[in-house]
Symmetry: none
DNA sequence: CATGAATGAGCCTTCATTCAT
DNA sequence: CATGAATGAAGGCTCATTCAT
């Protein structure tokens, strides 16, 4: 009826995922220890293996789940966009909010790709490319419609993503800037540049 | 001209730094072993200690040297800038070129800060802040001179740096885009935005 | 009855203590390696850490346990002594027997104090002083009662302890002298000196 | 003309011996490092090998020289003794003084015998036995002359030596007891015992 | 499912010793 | 003689993983 420490049932895996997320975010995959993780969840290290296959697989699951979720939410956000300008504004807003909320997942998803074994790495890279493609398609459509003027849509895609993703490195939800302002600032910067 | 096996002389440290750079770039600090590093340089693992103090100190030296070099080069690049617009263009060009050339140093300098011991970490963070301040000052000056229109100079600083730095994640010097084009694309994007 | 190879259960720690005692006695703390110790117990070196905290802590535990045991036994031995002469005779007998039986513990307890980290060292020195104090008190009481005539009780304490403790350096239980004779010889020597 | 740091000439060996003595006394043979020793003398570790054969040989030389010196001085001290009582008193006084003055040599000479390789160990043990024999002979002579009454001369020899040698564990030359008093106390204790 | 204990590989670091310069 | 740098062996300790209970 109640969920006790040294928890049982399906929630243990969730606890492991949550703790893994936090620990990898803080110390990095290599530096994180299964013993640390176990302690965090209230288990012995060996018991983790009743829930995960290997440390490597845990990392993959974390990133993989995140990528799937990211795509789903993006598609929801873009649904019903009326034109490339609208779509780009929606993309910017969605990406920022998501990257603030899922800061840790995002960070791990990009910084720990190199810790994945080649096969796992490939899968994630494919998923990531799909995400990038969404933005690239928006830019292309905007250029086609002569709403946007862009040097190179692929490069601009990377540049824009880099800028927007950068947020999870420094944004402090408790700081002086609200999420709305953040969106406005970035939208203005990307759509109109710094020029007066 | 070539690296002697079992290298001697003062160049050994240079070889260690070079190999360390490469290995940390590829595998990350935690994942790199001193045995790997030693093999790369043609030494036994223990012999490294004739040249470095500890693995941690090697990481710090690598990052620290890089930060000093970065600041020096930036100041050279900005010297003689005539106005904020000129300064911003110079900053963009410099940052991009530098981040392409010193891709590994830059990457390590940001991704491995968390692997530094607290004291070392603090030093680097201070240096990095000084670099950010240069860009922020340019933006502020541009706003003052009514050349730039910016939501928030500190946030814009982070956003711009994120975009420009992102380059070392994906840019391929052997690819289809020249450095000149890259600079043009980013400059246009940042100064005028995507709008037509 | 016999020590199982790759021993399990709570007796593993006991086996580690026993082997540690022997190895440190034979080779000294610095010279003993955990690999030696592990082999002796039938484990891999790393597995020792399921039972001990560190090599240093093992040394401390060995000495500390011994000191506690020593004091307990001494107090049992002195209980009910009728006068200083009786007490001194009891002390001599107890000390000799104990130092023959616990030869290794005693030896390590004095020769490896310098291998202890300062804090641990301090604790042991305190315990040892308590033991010395017992003898000193007996001497003082004897002088008070005009049964003993002694130059300086503190110095005599050290001198007597040195003599009695020396036994574990050379006594061979399988040799020609019985423990009883040993006690007689030392008691005579200390109480009456060599003079006729 | 002058003896500089990083000294030359025959005095370097002396400096190495002196430093080795001190370091082994403080940390033990195993725990002492040739790098420590070299630093103490103002050399690089490798340079020590211009003066010593090996670390082991250094230990042996230190102990061996000390044993030779000890025997020489003992024989000087006993020369001209008139009777066993006189000889015993001389022995006691000599042993105490010597063990106070050459505290470090004596300590090493007994505590580091186990660090000697078997052959070296044997040589030292032989020398030590010769020293013990001197005392045993005195006791035997005293018993023969019916001046001494002793349970077992060999055991008493060990017991007396243990007591007298113990001094270098605790005696503080700057303490409240003079060397003369020390001699008196020990002589009284050994010749007359504690009894009134 | 959880535990405690074991494994075996590996890590960073230290050390005595050697040797070209 | 001294140095700086190299070697190779080893040392204490950690870790992912396994498995009997």
């Amino acid at each position: 009826m109640s969920r006790t420490v040294g928890s049982h049932g399906p929630s243990t895996l969730a606890a492991i995922h949550e703790a893994g997320l936090q620990l990898i975010y803080e110390h990095g995959y290599e530096a994180m220890t299964l013993r640390q993780l176990a302690r965090q969840v209230g288990l012995q290290a060996g018991s983790l293996y009743n829930h995960i296959e290997t440390k490597q697989q845990l990392l993959f699951d974390l990133i993989h789940n995140h990528m799937i979720h990211l795509m789903e939410k993006l598609d929801e956000a873009l649904e019903g966009a009326e034109n490339p300008d609208d779509a780009l504004r929606r993309f910017i807003a969605f990406h920022l909010i998501y990257h603030i909320e899922k800061k840790r997942e995002v960070f791990i998803g990009s910084s720990e790709i190199r810790s994945l074994e080649p096969e796992n790495q490939e899968k994630i890279v494919t998923q990531r490319r799909a995400y990038e493609d969404r933005l690239c398609a928006i830019l292309d459509a905007g250029v086609e419609a002569e709403i946007f003027k862009i040097g190179d849509s692929r490069i601009s895609t990377y540049a824009i993503l880099a800028m927007l993703t950068g947020i999870c490195t420094w944004y402090d939800p408790a700081g002086r800037v609200t999420q709305d302002e953040l969106i406005k600032i970035h939208t203005a910067l990307l759509i109109d540049g710094v020029s007066h």
